[in-house]
Symmetry: C2
Subunit: 517 residues, 2 copies
Amino acid sequence: MSHPLRLLARQHRRWPLPAARRSYSVRVPGDGSSDVTTVADLKEWQPGRLVSDVQVCGWVRSVRKSASVRFVDITDGSSMRPVQAVVDKSLAADIRPGAAVRLTGVWHSSFPRSSVPATAELRVNEVEILGASNPQTYPIQNKYQTPESLRAISHLRPRTPLNSTLLRLRSDAMALVSQFFFQEKFQQTHPPIITSSDCEGAGEAFTVKSGSPSEFFRDPKYLTVSSQLHLEALAQALGNVWTLSPTFRAEQSDTSRHLSEFYMLEAEMSFVQDMDEVMDLAQRMLASLASGLRLRSAAQELEKHRLDSRDPAERLAFEDLVDLKELQQRWRGLMAPTRWPRVTYTEAIEILEPVAHKFEHKPVWGSGLQSEHEKYLAEKIGYDEASDAFLPIFVTHYPREIKAFYMLQSESPPAQGPTVDCFDLLVPNLGELAGGSMREHRLAQLEDNMRLHGLEVPTQRKARSSDMGWYLDLRRWGCPPHGGFGLGFDRLLSYLTGVPNVRDVVPFPRHFERCDC
Amino acid sequence: MSHPLRLLARQHRRWPLPAARRSYSVRVPGDGSSDVTTVADLKEWQPGRLVSDVQVCGWVRSVRKSASVRFVDITDGSSMRPVQAVVDKSLAADIRPGAAVRLTGVWHSSFPRSSVPATAELRVNEVEILGASNPQTYPIQNKYQTPESLRAISHLRPRTPLNSTLLRLRSDAMALVSQFFFQEKFQQTHPPIITSSDCEGAGEAFTVKSGSPSEFFRDPKYLTVSSQLHLEALAQALGNVWTLSPTFRAEQSDTSRHLSEFYMLEAEMSFVQDMDEVMDLAQRMLASLASGLRLRSAAQELEKHRLDSRDPAERLAFEDLVDLKELQQRWRGLMAPTRWPRVTYTEAIEILEPVAHKFEHKPVWGSGLQSEHEKYLAEKIGYDEASDAFLPIFVTHYPREIKAFYMLQSESPPAQGPTVDCFDLLVPNLGELAGGSMREHRLAQLEDNMRLHGLEVPTQRKARSSDMGWYLDLRRWGCPPHGGFGLGFDRLLSYLTGVPNVRDVVPFPRHFERCDC
């Protein structure tokens, strides 16, 4: 070893890895092991004495003036509500809405007592402007802004209290579904985003091109419209698997429920004996998610502040959301201790026929359920009087011809015609939240289905190179009965938060003609 | 409410949600609350008595014949090694390698005693073939198959013991990084996959097209080459953020370290005071991941079976991996209780110059480090004699001109020229595992950097509609000093498992001219 190397080796042994060298927005005095590291923590912190040298980094949400001091509301994105800092007028010249600051001072806190409200504020003796702001040009105003206007500035939109809380709730939801599937011993997987097939019947696919004139991957390739087929391959090796992956549809539909880029939560189980097991998994997962979210701050704040808000701008923002009473009915339904209602498509048609006059499209056995039908069914069947809750409902066993080629044909179809073992999970207002099925695991029957759906059936010889040959291969060797479901993660968050437009629960929405940033 | 609805409402209240209705590959008698639900669990199960009615679903790995019985190795993907079932010859006719079966029988288990080895086997009295197999055509043979040949059948490859274990280790790693960032109060985010910009200098981007002749999103759009810019926007609202997202490069490089579609683990921190905090975070995250993985079965099995394997085919598969001694040196380095070595680029060049004759490319200040340089530095500086470990090393402060436009210029550059506050994390054999930097948070300096790198600087008026205008916007209002890093998740798994080719740690590899399935 040459000299400089030996020197370096000696040097790094002198550096223990310091637990305290962490980048947090809030620092309180001590050895760095304190749990008080964010504004959310600080707001709850009641050390029972004055504490000096408390440092808060964050963004200025508002500044209120009195004769000698400024009351500055600071947020670091960890909580919907800011923490208050009291700054002497002489120090506050550059503290403007939108600025990033570091404030150091004395933390005053006390519990509320009879007539005296609680105190929780930082009395500041040192101000550092980390990033200046010009409130005249700052696009995020401390007043009501419509969801439409905020969508035009998606790179700044997360700085509003409501939008940052929605993104924290999204983060909580990711952590909770990861935990659920981990405990259930499902393996998390990364199925491919670029795929060979655009023929799954799940909608129009985007094409992927490289800069060079020849095909980068030899044949045309697409952005995945669903990870299901690849999950089936992985389930046949690993047992039960899941993924939360981006999925793409090039549909020109401009609705509040559709995105061109969205996240799908998909699970696939090997060795399923009947479809009830798949529906039970979907319900258990959603119930576990809703119960877990209720313990986390983002969901708690959303509910609490809707009840207690006195800020007119905030109240207007909340008015854009689904009525709080209905939202609570949704949550109660998700956490219900009973099985959600399960009706067959044929029963659903029988329920719809007597009230056909209510709909634009006539409910007819053999046609798909329209969105208006789905919403009617979800509201009528799902509403549980006893608990004043909206239970999500499963509609099962749709006609074979209107469902995907990979679904398993039902053994005891109704008189009207052949059906498949599949389900849609419907909720009020939104319609379809998830869909699942048993998969056709027998080669000959799968090939029949493909022909029925007008798909080309690859021969075994070409199997591996052709588009769907690999999928048929899965049936050639050791394919057990299996099933799974896919759930629109963004739609679920929209349902849980009461945000009517799915574009407002994703950070950077992509849809027809819009892909900002 | 009409009659059928009332009926349904009554029905579903009669259905309690059954905890036992779960789809597991292994069932033992009882109320369904047993933790023994996979082959991995069963292999460890020692109830201290014979237990009948034990059911195992899985795939047949091999069948050995004796005069009256068949010894059948069954796996469900939960463990590298199968469980043994003993089946009477008369029942075993259709039990063939590759088949999916359900076997029911009596579980025999005992601890090892002096001369008697441990027992753990299912004596089968009922056989059900769930999916037949033809061993003559089954592409997964119970013998050594090269990694290259397995890559040609990526839909079946996860069925081999090594590949399924690698995918389980990948799942464990996802769960552990989620847990780490959750505990550190980072928000997990979903930055966009389809983006407006291809000018980040991170390599060639794929273009996204829809079927229609006009542009679906008005302007050309691309698959993301890095989530960093969008993470910066989110960090400026939420504080500390992270993501594990797919990332794409249309480079025609055909190496063992590159994929066209790969996963990047990226973290971004607001309010960073100096770059050491970013490096400390990267080290803490990797140390926490490695320590966590060691407690999980996939990593344990990989090490154990490399030590004890007596199966010739398996030993050949292990020989394709990095030498076990070196692998252990890597793990010890990742978990080292000291800070990993940090050298500046300028120091690195001083170390390389005296040994320039060893390299194809001459090490010159101002040029990028070549892969051969990186590997030399990682091996020489990173090797710690005292602990016989390879510590990853940070090389910091590269010349400004060869690094990305968004990096913060260093305050005290060396005599040779201006540098930026950035780092690469290097490891032996693989080279660059991660890269990070402080970001230029001041508008004027960022615009200077863009000009220096030949990028068009958008005017404020056009800011929001133009490609990079939104990114400059982030500097206009409240941009604090911040920094972060990105880590190649697939490369990390390759480093942790000793799998030399990154194509073998992802389920469906995509690279130049290859996108099967």
